[in-house]
Amino acid sequence: MTDISMTVNGKAVSGSVEGRTLLVDFLRNDLRLTGTHVGCDTSQCGACVVHVDGLAVKACTMFAAEADGAEVATIEGQANADGSLNVIQQAFQDHHGLQCGFCTPGMVMSAAALLKDNPKPTEAEIRDYLEGNICRCTGYHNIVKAIMAASGQDVGAIAAE
């Protein structure tokens, strides 16, 4: 077992993990932060996307021990300080960017990473960035719309497909 400590959503946490413990399992099983989902467990679907030192990564394809000392952000830390939804989360609600909601934590975390680097992405840039996030319900259209809206852009130009 390896002792690890890291910051998760601004709070210092620590634990003892096996070498093979995935970051997503540490978050879900040890910290009980079950907002980060495991969809495929094969690095395809992106439901487990979290930020490690500010970068979007698939928490199912990184060992917990590799995040020792890192700053980790998960969906649980995304809401505003008063508990209200942040601008991306609110936009997902306003634009029906989810149906079953299983992919949504990863979608929101990927959207946040995109908007940090590219505050006004084009529709094509959003679709390209979401290549590693799979949604089986929405057809992506309203997710793209929500991210456009969250970046303060007009979504009227996005025609229904």
Partner: protein, 261 residues
């Protein structure tokens, strides 16, 4: 996954010392971790190279070559290899953004997946692979599917790319995996044109010498007219037959020549 220990050395020397016996180096893990999950590998110990600062980053050497640390992620190469645009562009289309934030050039080369992008750039540009013990020319490095000239425990610390006069990489994406169904890296250098092909051959990345000769004489897509690649030895699977891949190689080579800058 079978159980294993994990070590996180901070220097190349410590990593090399830890890579003994049944130990396995861990780059970004974007291939190795899925492989471990499928129990296709059972190392006793993983030695993570991600914490070794001296193996990270992109710089230009005194000889003008672009130097990329072995533990540099695809995202960093995409962002910082601007002096070799074809390489930066290639890195920016590997996997997806989250994969590019973890996956490393050294990990990709050491794995030598027959459909990976980086082997085409390294072989096409005529790069040099630097390890903790020696330097290996790209022409001597790739040794068939998932096989390289690396010895047990040898670590890719750096890759040195001569910056081509003109270069381009064209990838025909296999849409489910985002790997290359066929990818072609074309580089025009002072010594002639190099054409490296990934994704197509059962032998892994290879140079298409007939196209190199034709393009060295005339660097125009029309120089490929009349050339054809033997389908024998090409990969055949549910995504495409050997003949289809052989045809794609020529198409993608032509596109790379047209787009080369």
């Amino acid at each position: 996954m079978y159980a294993f220990e994990i070590e996180r050395p901070e220097t190349v020397a410590d990593a090399a010392a830890a890579l003994t016996g049944e130990a396995q180096a861990l780059g970004g893990g974007q291939t190795l971790i899925p492989t471990l999950k499928q129990r296709l590998a059972s190392p006793e110990k993983l030695v993570s190279l991600a914490g070794i600062a001296e193996m990270k980053g992109v710089c230009t050497g005194d000889d003008g070559r672009l130097c990329v640390g072995g533990a540099t992620t695809h995202a960093t190469v995409a962002a910082e290899a601007g002096s070799f645009p074809a390489l930066a562009e290639l890195a920016s289309h590997i996997g997806d953004p989250a994969v590019r934030n973890r996956g490393t050039i050294g990990g990709s080369l050491a794995n030598n997946d027959p459909a990976a992008c980086y082997p085409a750039a390294v072989l096409g540009a005529g790069a040099t692979i630097v390890t903790n013990t020696r330097e290996i020319a790209a022409d001597d490095f790739f040794d068939g599917m998932f096989t390289t000239a690396l010895n047990e425990g040898e670590i890719i610390t750096e890759v040195k790319f001569p910056v081509a006069q003109k270069a381009n990489y064209q990838k025909f994406v296999q849409p489910a995996s985002r790997f290359a169904m066929v990818g072609v890296f074309v580089a025009q250098t002072a010594e002639g044109v190099r054409v490296a092909v990934t994704g197509a051959s059962e032998g892994g990345v290879f140079r298409w010498s007939e196209a190199e000769a034709a393009l060295s004489a005339n660097f125009d897509a029309s120089a490929l007219d009349g050339l054809s690649l033997d389908a024998d030895g090409m990969i055949g699977d549910l995504h495409g037959s050997p003949a289809y891949r052989a045809h794609l190689v020529k198409v993608m080579t032509g596109r790379a020549v047209k787009a080369a800058a």
